[in-house]
Amino acid sequence: MSDSVATIIAEARGAGRSLLSEVEAKAALGAAGVPVTTTRLATSPAQATAIAAELGYPVVLKVVSDTITHKSDIGGVELNLADAAAVEAAYARIQVAVEAAAGAAAFGGVSVQPLAAPGVEVIMGMTQDPQFGPVLMFGLGGVLVEVLKDVAFRVVPLEPHDAAEMIREIKGFPVLEGYRGADPADLAALESILLSLSAFATAHPEVQELDLNPILARADGATAVDARIVLTPA
């Protein structure tokens, strides 16, 4: 597992990049035991439809770019694509939008992934604190994290009770308990991801920052649908 992560990191470094692509980040985290949506790179509409057929419809396309930070802001994300025609059209729209907004060099193809089952959006992340080393974060995800900042931190390594506590520490915790008749989220699955991230951070000090945003927390598990990994300066 660590070997494949090390390979991904070495390849990015070799290409002079400190930001892993979504495809790379998910591959690394998937190898570390974090449930992620299977995500593959497509550099042509035909390749995108082939991957979509293999993964099963509906799918999601997102732009792959070394330079773009907020993909959805510039039309770089297309959700809920039901068939091959929709995928081909979406591929073209993303390419046009990205090239218009950021230039032809910014477009590096698209990632293709199955549309994940809905759930409560949560965020998990890791960053290297200059004094204390890696710290993990948990909070409600999506756009809410920026507005409410309802998050909890722990220093790596986490004990299982640390993972349980940080989830329960946020103000929004009742949302995960099944607010207003919704099914309660699978808290054990969330705790398990936090512990996997703790081990991942310990094993890979060359990871400077990491966001899983969002992770969709369902009654029967949780899946990261987007991932960002920033490496330490080489």
Binding site: M137, V145, R154, E169
Partner: protein, 492 residues
Amino acid sequence: MPISPDRLERVLNPKVIAVVGDKKASGYMWLNALKTFSGNLYSIQVDEKEIEGIAALGVPNFASLTQIPEPVDYVLCAVPRKIAPFIVKDCIAAKVGGVTLFTSGFAETGEDEGLALQDQIGALARDADLLLIGPNCMGIHNPGLGVRFHRDQPHGRSGNVGFISQSGTHGMHFSLVGATRGIYCSKLVSFGNGIILEAADYLDYLANDDATEIIGMYIEGARDGRRFVQALRAAAARKPVVIWKGGQTDAGSTAAQSHTASLASNKAVWDAIVRQAGAISVAGLDELVDVVHALQRTKPGRGNRVGLMAMTGGQSVALADSFAREGWQVPRFADATYAQLAEFFNVIGGSYQNPLDMAGTIMQDASTLDRLFDLMEADPNVDAVAMEISATFAAQRWEKNPQELETLIGSLRRFQERSDKPFVAALHPSYVEQAALNARDQLQAAGLPVFPSFERAANALAKSVALDPALHPARQSSGRKSPGRQSPGPNG
């Protein structure tokens, strides 16, 4: 590199102390503060103009540490910064147990000369494996041995609180203000820049020190963050650790490329560390002293439902609000409690929901207070008990009839002894501040926990009994022994 506890043991419990460079201009502050030292005290001073005053204090003076005719356990160095490296060399030559550099003007100045001098001193101490406290600090206070750095610090008695402070002022204030609340230190260290011995070393020592049952600390930053976290976790697993973190900022990393990094402010990370270790976070000196006071004088926590005893209707509401804000539930009492209250409680001008509005009952017949406490003890809905003592009502009566205060203290003491439920008293100074202070001292001398406001009582009790067990599992389940109650002393 962790320091062997035996070596710190010698420095923190010295039998021989030498003060280097004390002088008239400072009122011989070090030698005067150390008048109470139970061991042998020496002075090192080469300035003829200063030596006369030192002789007048009756302290033997030498020209160099190496001339002192017995091994020196602890050196206090108060020389100018340029002289400091020479004194450090003397400490190494004389094989002293350890040295505090009161001397300042090093890295904290941010200027080149100060940084260079600190590096030089650090290198000297590291090469010789010298235990160096500071620089830029006040050093150690061990009241049991009369070791002090301020002339009003307590002496002649030892306490159960080990205190670690990155600031000399906050360390000094903890010892001085603490004493007014019946809190005494086992050992206190002000460690300043901490270039050799740092917070983790003192934490390791105090965690293993049998005389220390509670650890308090003021800290601004940790040089080796990961080692600090380990030391804090280990210490908090053994005894309560109360932390005041100074200099907290909400700013995250400005270079952040992720939400996580942009939200991971210094404050957020420190809060996480304290929670994760199962330590208790406080925001300032008053809260620090309050929580230690509660830890010393209340029983361990059982739950979050509090029974409240107030003197009037307005204070009943204020008391209930104060406790609710700190996360306490103010439940209905059990039916059996209400049935018994109906037999003797005076409801004219009073009431007995929760809180009990009880002035009309206990001021008519003081023995009813024992009955009320019996009901609180027996009530299954009550995990902890808090009571208002009204100086407004009582000050003049106490003045006329001191026996009345003693009777009250007797009732409180009996309850505190027979009940396993944590109990606190709130005595607001009101407009009769001096009378309230006198009463506070008497209550404290009897070993009772007493706070100057409802809010502070509610907060201290909440923090000391780990009201939020979800956040402090280590404090509930580590088998940490509850701190022993400090014996009442002259200052209470």
